[in-house]
């Protein structure tokens, strides 16, 4: 298998790059071989990228911008493994990685949580058997606390300040324990957490209260692979799924200014009635009264075929990748 980690440029590189490409097309700057599938990746800082592999190793790559090359800077082999670390096929896939420079937290199919520090050879902290099932995703809640989701439908908070290897809180879905695949925290209001499940359901949690989600939104028809709040515009949420769709959830209150017949391709669905006045106090995500809130949901992919595996957003730019081996870039998300 020839898996590669690649860096592309989608900025305005002048009219056409070296190959005379259209100015809008992403250009491949550099790439490097990667051992195993890339399960997750994140930028650690301007130059370094942390990549989680299906072989169970976690690698930090460095992108040298002066000569446009990639090199492997540091690697933790067998960060995740089943039972016997040194056995031949003992590696377990590392399913999620999250960074908060210089700390890196990884989770994997072995139910293990690792806390690494960039440039330190050994893990700072490892919680073995943190979970009896697979941990699918991880994100930072606060600087010393993380959130994980697993394949028996539980959302757990772990506090690294505590020495014991137990989660400080466990939340579960009501009803069937559907596996949760992704998690993201609201950028400004840290008690709001969104998770996506195997049945395509989007759950919003308030971790200050209760152990069950605040709202469950029926979204996709298959696994929801990733959920992201927009980092600077958190009234907007994006989810992508195995069913090939990518949904834009918009709870911003200035909907009345948008003409209702303008949609970005695909179907938009529910409109609830509208109340603008008291929105500033309580976040629109937590209000579960359908008569009070309006949420606009749009599918951004007109001809869906294969799964959308991953997405990311920054400013007005949305990037997503599909199983059709294609990367799509939308640079005018809010136009």
């Amino acid at each position: 298998q020839d898996n590669r980690l690649s860096v592309w440029s989608v900025g305005e590189l002048g009219n056409g790059g070296p190959g005379g490409e259209y100015p809008g097309e992403p250009q491949l700057l550099c790439d490097i071989r990667h051992d195993g599938d890339v399960m997750d990746m994140q930028f650690l800082d301007q130059e370094k990228i942390v990549v989680a592999s299906s072989t169970g190793s976690v690698t930090v790559f460095r992108h040298h911008q002066n000569n446009q090359t990639l090199s492997a800077n540091q690697r933790w082999e067998k960060a995740h493994y089943h039972v016997d670390r040194d056995s031949f096929c003992g590696g377990a896939a590392c399913t999620g990685v999250i960074c908060n420079n210089p700390e890196i937290v990884t989770v994997g199919e072995d139910g293990r949580i690792n806390l690494f520090r960039a440039d330190q050879k050994d893990a700072v902290r490892t919680i073995d058997n943190a979970d009896s099932s697979t941990l699918h995703a991880v994100t930072f809640l606060r600087t010393t606390e993380i959130l994980t989701v697993n394949s028996i439908g539980q959302l757990k908070i772990w506090d690294f300040r505590q020495q014991r290897n137990e989660p400080s809180q466990i939340f579960s879905l009501t009803g069937d324990r559907v596996p949760l695949h992704c998690v993201d925290r609201h950028p400004n209001q840290q008690h709001i957490v969104a998770t996506g499940g195997q049945d395509g359901m989007l759950s919003i949690w308030d971790i200050r209260q209760g152990t069950m989600p605040v709202s469950l939104l029926n979204a996709h028809e298959a696994e929801m692979w990733e959920v992201h709040f927009h980092p600077s515009n958190p009234d907007h949420l994006f989810t992508c799924s195995e069913d090939g769709s990518l949904w834009h959830w918009d709870t911003s209150t200035d909907i009345s200014e948008k003409p209702s017949f303008l949609h970005q391709g695909g179907r938009s669905t529910t409109y609830f009635s509208h109340n603008t006045i008291n929105q500033s106090v309580v976040s629109a995500w937590l209000s579960n009264d359908p008569t009070k809130d309006r949420m606009e949901i749009t599918n951004l992919i007109p001809n869906q075929t294969l799964s959308v595996n991953s997405l990311d957003i920054l400013g007005p730019c949305l990037v997503y990748g599909t199983d059709g081996e294609a990367i799509y870039v939308n640079r005018q998300l809010f136009a």
Partner: protein
């Protein structure tokens, strides 16, 4: 029919060891047996167009090696992946576009699909060309260059099929389309013309007349006239002849796409024009300039004059189109075959014989669809081309649905072959699924067989495969895959994952297995592992009785820990009397009851105590005498202690219940 190609498996020496082989879905395994050669004719792997990939193990005298011979190498070429992915999207779009449109708009839609396919081929060609130019490895360079020429040939054939079959151009537009086709595929012209025009004195350039000739041969009158004007301005003496030629070229009647003239009108006009050219030639107007004279002859469709420019045309089909342009511009599609055969014979002459490409194009001109497909299948190493082309032609309703003797029609057969090839690829198999979906007869069966053989190295991949199976109600496969994943998880001690897989498959038997594991762990260690799982089973507890027991048993422990003794006692009893607990566990449960019996406060009521005693008696009665004899002291002591505790409890509770309150 030609004999299939043989492929040598490097490293496999039939003279040294007897070889055996086994067919797989997309590969052949060839391995060395323990037997040495004892004579006889060796016959290594069957005829294949792939090549060897690996040989495992050391080459020592005792050990055997296994060779994996892959049939389809093309799917592993990096630059072709774009072709497969993009064409998949077009294929799906075509299948989904129901016949909302009929007649003309449907045809336009199908032509658009055909154009999309072709543009994908061209894009791939450019990428491949880029790769060939930038690579430094000579082997890779030659591989890429070969691929470029194969893709180019594919596009050529597809384009012709689009004109003749999909668009089914009628007489008139047919010629225009053929002219476009020829112009698109002979590329040297532009370079040559550019060179001529950019020189100081274009008309003196040695390639000048070649350029003019090529334009004329391709029917590009305006450009030819533009070039000729340079000659006229450079050479004033030829102005008069130039003017006449220019005029003739300008007046040449051509079919046009709008319906502003009928074929008969065109034929009349053309006849007039032809006669005019004839007159000028016979008058000797062009005698002074041999170049112009030959051009005039070409305009008249003189075979020999055109054949003289063989080098410029390079191919017989160019020759064919030129001839048609200048002798039968209103040619009907069905007449093409006669001209095609004649032209090919003339052009190739005695020395050369037709290449595969020529045979395919000839079959197309003869409107022998099946022949085209057959020849392409033989000539190309990969089913991509024929599968997609046949599917498109099938949508144009051009293929009679005669069944091949193994049941499905040609379109389905080719798509099945193509998709099966995709399944041997670790990533492209996802495309194959959609292709199988659109094969009504055997697609599902093929999918069922292939989908179970995809290697599942990560959970995410397994989830994708499961989703595909669930969407198609392939319950057997769902169960089978979930069992495999659950077993793997169990072996790695990931009990929660194993449970999660059994819930997905609704596999009660496996859930029972997992619960037994938990209970075994508990018995050995005295405490539960993975409490986060057992405490949070939720409704999935009901999947299997054993699982329910596990959940309830854990609840009992929790209640005990919270000192809610009466509730705990009730639960414990219920577990035995409702037969939720397996018999093997009753002893443990009764032992758990001991501390409750020994409490200061009486917990079990008389009823309950009688029940417990009955359970104990059932348990001990069930054992045969032999077992009782084998029971060690601990066992007998436990039973004794229980009996004692129960008796004491009974005594206390009778007293308590017998006592009136407040008296």
């Amino acid at each position: 029919d030609r004999r299939p190609l043989t492929q040598v498996v490097p490293g496999a020496d039939p003279a040294a060891r007897q070889l055996c082989f086994e067919w797989g879905p997309a590969e052949v395994l060839v391995c060395e047996t323990l037997f040495g050669r004892r004579g006889g004719v060796p016959s290594p792997g069957p005829a294949l167009t792939g090549s060897v990939v690996t040989g495992g193990g050391e080459g020592g005298p005792g050990s055997s090696r296994v060779f994996v011979v892959r049939r389809d190498q093309d799917i592993y070429i990096q630059t072709l992946r774009k072709l497969f992915n993009e064409s998949h999207g077009i294929f799906i779009g075509l299948q989904r576009s129901e016949e909302e449109f009929t007649g003309k708009s449907r045809k336009a839609q199908l032509v658009q699909v055909s154009k999309n396919y072709r543009s994908v081929i061209r894009a791939c060609m450019e990428d491949m060309h880029q790769a060939a130019v930038t690579t430094r490895d000579p082997a890779l360079h030659s591989q890429y260059s070969t691929q470029v020429s194969i893709l180019s040939a594919m596009e050529l054939i597809w384009n012709l099929c689009e004109i003749l079959f999909v668009e089914a151009a009628a007489a008139g537009p047919l010629l225009l389309r053929l002219l476009d086709w020829v112009r698109l595929h002979v590329c040297d012209v532009d370079n040559m013309v550019h060179e001529v025009l950019s020189s100081e004195n274009p008309s003196k350039h040695k390639l000048f007349w070649n350029a003019v000739d090529v334009f004329v041969l391709q029917g590009r009158m305006d450009e030819a006239r533009h070039l000729l004007s340079k000659e006229a301005s450079a050479n004033p003496t030829s102005v008069s002849t130039y003017k006449i030629l220019d005029d003739l070229m300008k007046k040449m009647p051509v079919p046009n796409l709008g319906n502003t003239q009928t074929l008969t009108e065109l034929e009349l006009k053309w006849q007039h024009w032809h006669e005019e050219c004839q007159r000028y030639l016979q008058d000797g107007t062009f005698a002074s300039n041999s170049h112009m004279e030959s051009i005039c002859k070409i305009l008249l469709g003189d075979e020999n004059a055109i054949l003289e420019k063989k080098e410029l045309m390079t191919t017989w089909y160019h020759f064919l189109v030129t001839r048609l342009l200048y002798s039968h511009p209103t040619v009907k599609p069905m007449e093409l075959r006669f001209y095609a055969q004649a032209c090919m014979d003339l052009f190739l002459g005695e020395e050369s014989s037709p290449e595969p490409l020529d045979t395919i194009l000839m079959a197309a001109f003869e409107f022998e669809l099946h022949q085209v497909i057959k020849e392409c299948s033989i000539a190309l190493s990969n089913w991509w081309f024929v599968a997609h082309l046949t599917d498109l032609l099938d949508h144009c309703k051009l293929l009679q649905s005669h069944n091949l003797y193994f049941g499905s029609n040609m379109r389905e057969f080719l798509i099945l072959e193509y998709a099966s090839g995709l399944f041997s690829h670790h990533s492209l198999w996802q495309l194959g699924v959609d292709y199988f979906d659109h094969c009504p007869e055997y697609g599902r069966v093929y999918l069922e067989l292939h989908i179970e053989r995809i290697p599942l190295n990560t959970e995410q991949k397994a989830l994708k495969v499961l989703r595909i199976c669930e969407q198609r109600q392939m319950h057997e496969q769902v169960r089978s895959i979930c069992k495999i994943m659950a077993m793997k998880a169990l072996r790695n001690n990931r009990l929660g994952s194993a449970l999660s897989w059994s819930i997905r498959a609704k596999d009660a038997a496996f859930a029972t297995l997992i619960s037994d594991r938990f209970l075994k762990d508990y018995c050995e260690r005295g405490c539960f592992s993975d409490l986060d799982l057992i405490d949070n089973l939720g409704p999935s507890m009901l999947l299997s009785d054993r699982l329910t027991f596990l959940g309830k048993y854990r609840e009992f422990h929790r209640l005990y820990g919270e000192k809610r003794f009466s509730e705990a006692a009730k639960l414990l009893l219920m577990l035995m009397t409702a037969h939720i607990a397996p018999c093997s566990f009753w002893m443990t449960l009764l032992t758990d009851a001991l501390p409750l019996l020994e409490q200061k406060e009486v917990i079990f009521s008389a009823e309950q105590t009688y029940e417990l005693m009955r359970c104990l008696e059932d348990l001990t009665a069930g054992k045969s005498d032999k077992q009782k004899f084998q029971d060690d002291d601990v066992e007998t002591m436990k039973v004794e202690m229980l009996r004692l505790a129960l008796a004491r409890n009974l005594a206390r509770v009778i007293v308590k219940e017998g006592t009136l309150e407040g008296s």
